[in-house]
């Protein structure tokens, strides 16, 4: 069984983003780039499953759509334990263009299980995984918070409003993964970092795709009014303010 984990290269989650070029582009100066948190959890779960020989997982590949500048992030994924990587050599335009490039990789390489994070922390689209599934006509399960194998069959937990469903789908399938799939992201050990240097990153040239959407600009959220402090000796005043001033009680 072959696993593919799709990874996105995003600014570290503590970044206070700034924009340049008339608010059309993100100011990349000083940004630390990381594996998108949900993708990192997906990778962690894939590797946990591979560690268990009964699952029969032969390889965990990571795929990324981006220019060579994102190779440090791919190396991180290899250091964490992915066996190899594919990079599609193009600047991501929108979710559809990324999904189309990934679909091409899957068509050529064939995987049994494909994991995508439910969103990326930069565009917050929650779209690439589902698009990829439809492009390939594969079944997809979204909001996946658990994945295991029983007698060679994938058993999936999917979050629903107020609970979860335990379900099965046949391979090949796409799981769109959210929090809960793995407890903590796996951290690269020194040995992994050394080994990652020699693991292959295969570069695929992109196919031609017309994007469906385009970001025309960004704006920063309006700063909130200054906090009104209530005397800790009289917390009842807070309840009064919430009822009479904010009118939310």
């Amino acid at each position: 069984m072959k696993f593919l984990v799709c990874i996105s290269n995003v600014p570290d989650t503590t970044t206070r983003v700034k924009f340049t070029d008339d608010n059309k582009k993100i100011d990349t100066s000083g940004i630390q780039w990381v594996i998108n948190p949900w993708d990192e959890l997906s990778l962690t779960r894939a590797l946990e499953l591979k560690d268990d020989p009964s699952t029969g997982i032969k390889s965990v590949t990571v795929a990324h759509v981006g220019l060579s500048g994102s190779e440090p992030t791919i190396r991180k994924a290899l250091a964490i334990g992915a066996d190899d990587a594919v990079r599609v050599n193009t600047e991501p335009e929108d979710a559809f263009s990324v999904a189309s490039q990934l679909a091409e990789v899957v068509k050529q390489e064939k995987y049994d299980v494909i994991l995508c994070g439910i969103e990326s922390s930069d565009h917050n689209g929650s779209t690439v995984g589902g698009m990829l599934a439809e492009l390939l006509s594969y079944p997809s399960v979204s909001a996946v918070s658990g994945l295991k194998f029983e007698d060679g069959n994938a058993v999936i937990s999917r979050e629903i409003d107020g609970g979860r469903e335990i379900l099965t789908v046949p391979t090949p399938f796409i799981a769109v993964v959210q929090k809960g799939i793995a407890k903590e992201p796996r951290i690269a050990a020194m040995r992994g970092i050394m080994m990652a240097r020699t693991k292959p990153i295969r570069v695929f040239e992109p196919i031609s795709v017309t994007a469906y959407t385009e970001v025309t600009g960004y704006e920063k959220p309006k700063p909130r009014a200054a906090c009104k402090f209530v005397d800790p000796e009289n917390p009842g005043q807070l309840i009064e303010l919430l009822q009479q001033e904010a009118k939310v009680l």
Binding site: T14, A95, A133, L167, F229, P232, V248
Partner: protein
Amino acid sequence: MSVLVYTENWEGKFKKSTFELVSYASRLAEMLNTTATALSIGNVEKNELEKLGSYGVNKIINANGDGLNILDNQAYTYTISDLVKKSGATFVVLSNNYTGKALAPRLSVSLQAGIGSGVSGLPLSVEPFVVKKRAYSGNAWAHLAIKTGIKIITLAQNSFELIEKNQGATIEDIAVQLDGSLVKTQIKEVQKQTGKILLTDADIVISGGRGMKSPDNWGPLVELASLLEAATACSRPVSDEGWRGHDEHTGQTGKIIAPNLYVAIGISGATQHLAGVSSSKYIVAVNTDKDAPIFEAAQYGIVGDAMKLLPKLVEAVKELKP
């Protein structure tokens, strides 16, 4: 040209968020000088369907068929996509909830339709069609132009008001003939929590962080929540420690919520936490550290120990609601 809104049901019932979504679709249709149609799939009684008509749609499609009793993303995509094509709709609106996130991207490919997800309001412009959506986990808004013929919008939860407008909607029943081999999802078990107010539905959310110090200290916070008919939530360290369940984790990698009132007790307010709650209309913070970043996001705050303050807040609320 028309607007089609997918109205999900929960065991045959709609929620307030469904009616907000319908209100949004109707206003969008007004902006575009067209009409809005609601699409319901599965078993919903006529009197429940009629409620959708109070929020501005003039037609309700009631689709039903074998294989649609569980959410199989491929089967649902096929069904909705087919109905969109037949109805000639050029705008498709879904909620940005679990189901919307599962279906909208598949529909996008199937209908060759660009998608604006997590949209927070009516479009900024119609020609070109530009929507404002959440980006950089709440640190920015992106203006996204959708360039395709058909356009899909998923609306962020709690981002639009209810607008009543009775158009006297007609109900059209459609029997869907689904190819059975399309349904590949098999549900083995459903685990449901009952009697709990859902975090994503709640108008008020009371949330605890590391400042709660121990899983044993949650009593007064839960009591405060139940008095205010609020949902309970927590920060990431709390759910990672197992003090509270992962389903309560709000923040960048947890649930993204936008209640009218978010009360953060003993939460410092790291960027990742604020990413999940910054769209709340009011944020109240209780924290011992007056320099905690949560106070920058909050409109009201108390500097003090949660353990001492919570019982007093409970008392104050009890006086408010005898």
